[in-house]
């Protein structure tokens, strides 16, 4: 059994990770309520499996991968419930844009722009460009090939550049 001090440290590390974990969850769900549910579930699972965490590498990578897996399961369940069949959103060849329903919560326009990006782009951009994960780590966390990571990252960067340009023009 894990010593009390270690359990406390793990929970403390998890709490410290919450803002980043929630941000990562938002890139997956693009919906605040879903993100909160997902983070809660991921934390519960991480605590239940904390004895498996060997302390090597980045804790967030371990928790992120868990979070991503939970979300893929959830999406799969929803699709089955909706009669759409079981399709892994990360395996879709076509990216699609979904409306962002949380406008009241995410009034910040920059955030809304990010959340309106086609599925799969924001997560890759966040992990590599913002948080400094390597392509390999990102591929492992998201369960996708490195080639997909690379193409999504460049697409995300160009979309963000286009958003920047559009807004600059609108303001001019």
């Amino acid at each position: 059994m894990r010593p009390a001090a270690e359990t406390k440290d793990f929970r403390r590390d998890l709490v410290s990770l919450l803002p980043k974990l929630r941000r990562f969850a938002l890139t997956l769900t693009r919906n605040a309520n879903d993100a909160d549910d997902l983070v809660q579930e991921a934390c519960e699972r991480a605590i239940a499996r904390s004895h498996l965490w060997n302390g090597e590498g980045r804790l967030e990578s371990w928790v992120y991968a868990m979070t991503r897996n939970l979300w893929v399961d959830e999406v799969r369940k929803r699709k089955v419930r909706a009669g759409g069949g079981a399709v892994d959103i990360f395996d879709q060849s076509e990216l699609r844009v979904e409306a962002v329903a949380e406008k009241a919560v995410y009034a910040n326009q920059l955030q809304r722009m990010i959340l309106s990006m086609p599925e799969g782009l924001a997560s890759v951009f966040l992990l590599i460009n913002v948080e400094g994960h390597s392509y390999r780590e990102t591929a492992d966390i998201l369960g996708i090939p490195i080639g997909t990571v690379m193409s999504r990252l460049s697409t995300a960067r160009l979309r963000l550049a286009a958003m920047l340009s559009e807004n600059t023009e609108r303001r001019a």
């Binding site: 951009f125 690379m150 460049s154 960067r157 920047l164 807004n167 303001r171």
Partner: protein
């Protein structure tokens, strides 16, 4: 290292930005960028998108984290995390990916300047209004102080516990708040000593304790403060720190400790009863 030969230019340049390419491919792209204006424009776009996205993602960290979720992690109790939220004010340092070579530094500066210019100029257009430093709650500054001082091994306190009653005389006269140093030994905390801080131009007394695991706890107090006049204890989370604040007479007090300590509020109640 990744192999991107044969892939779209934007994919290759994106990997180039991230230092994910081998020397040979990097040299190839260096040569391409030196002679091809379109490639340079593409590189600029990718970097502009990076800078723009970084700013946007940083803003996400300002979003409130459900307080109930924090409690649940700490205590393992079943609470609906949507029911309560608390803002995170102090953000963990963002990991910065260092572009591996100084190549195209001038281009990068120009590009980032453009993006920064947009972001600065668009602050009123897209960003939430930011509070001024003077409007910052005092406990946020206390959390900042705590982060710095709690890491001090040799100089954790200004006046050691061995100074005894002199600490109470010194801080009470400096802060203008009479107090008695709480004995928290029964809670597993050893009194280490005290510090005098300044927050928003006001003196703040700080009593510092250490638990058996080496975690640092601090009781801070000042005359006045911005804590609403109430007998209630208020709990806040600032990343890895938990803060429980309350009011006593005309003094504002806050107990700071690890956010993972599920008993922080009870400890604050014990402090409030004995200070």
């Amino acid at each position: 290292m990744q192999q991107t030969t044969g892939q779209a230019l934007e994919v290759r340049l994106s990997a180039y930005i991230d230092g994910e390419l081998g020397d040979a491919e990097r040299a190839e792209l260096d040569a391409l960028l030196a002679r091809d204006e379109d490639a340079k424009v593409m590189l600029d776009k990718l970097k502009a998108g990076s800078a723009f996205g970084n700013k946007a993602f940083e803003d996400f960290l300002h979003d409130p984290v459900p307080l109930a979720l924090v409690r649940q992690i700490k205590q393992g109790s079943g609470i609906n995390p949507r029911s309560e939220r608390v803002a995170t004010a102090n953000l963990p340092a963002r990991t910065v990916r260092v572009w591996p070579r100084a190549l195209a530094a001038a281009t990068t500066l120009l590009l980032l300047g453009g993006a920064a210019g947009y972001l600065a100029g668009s602050a009123h257009y897209v960003a939430e209004p930011e509070s001024t430093a003077s409007a910052r709650p005092w406990i946020d500054e206390i959390a900042d102080y705590h982060r710095i001082y709690s890491r001090q091994k040799e100089h954790l306190v200004e006046a050691p516990a061995s100074d005894g009653p002199k600490i109470e005389t010194w801080l009470a006269s400096s802060v203008g708040v009479g107090f008695k140093t709480p004995d928290l030994a029964s809670k597993g905390l050893t009194f280490e000593g005290a510090r005098l801080l300044v927050v928003d131009g006001k003196p703040v007394g700080q009593l510092i304790y250490r638990d058996r695991e080496g975690d640092i706890y601090a009781i801070c107090f000042l005359k006045g403060g911005d804590t609403p006049q109430t007998d209630q204890f208020r709990e806040d989370i600032r990343d890895n720190l938990g803060l429980v604040s309350w009011q006593k007479g005309d003094a504002s007090l806050v107990l700071v400790g690890p956010s993972a300590d599920a008993g922080l509020r009870k400890l604050a109640e014990a402090v409030a009863a004995s200070i």
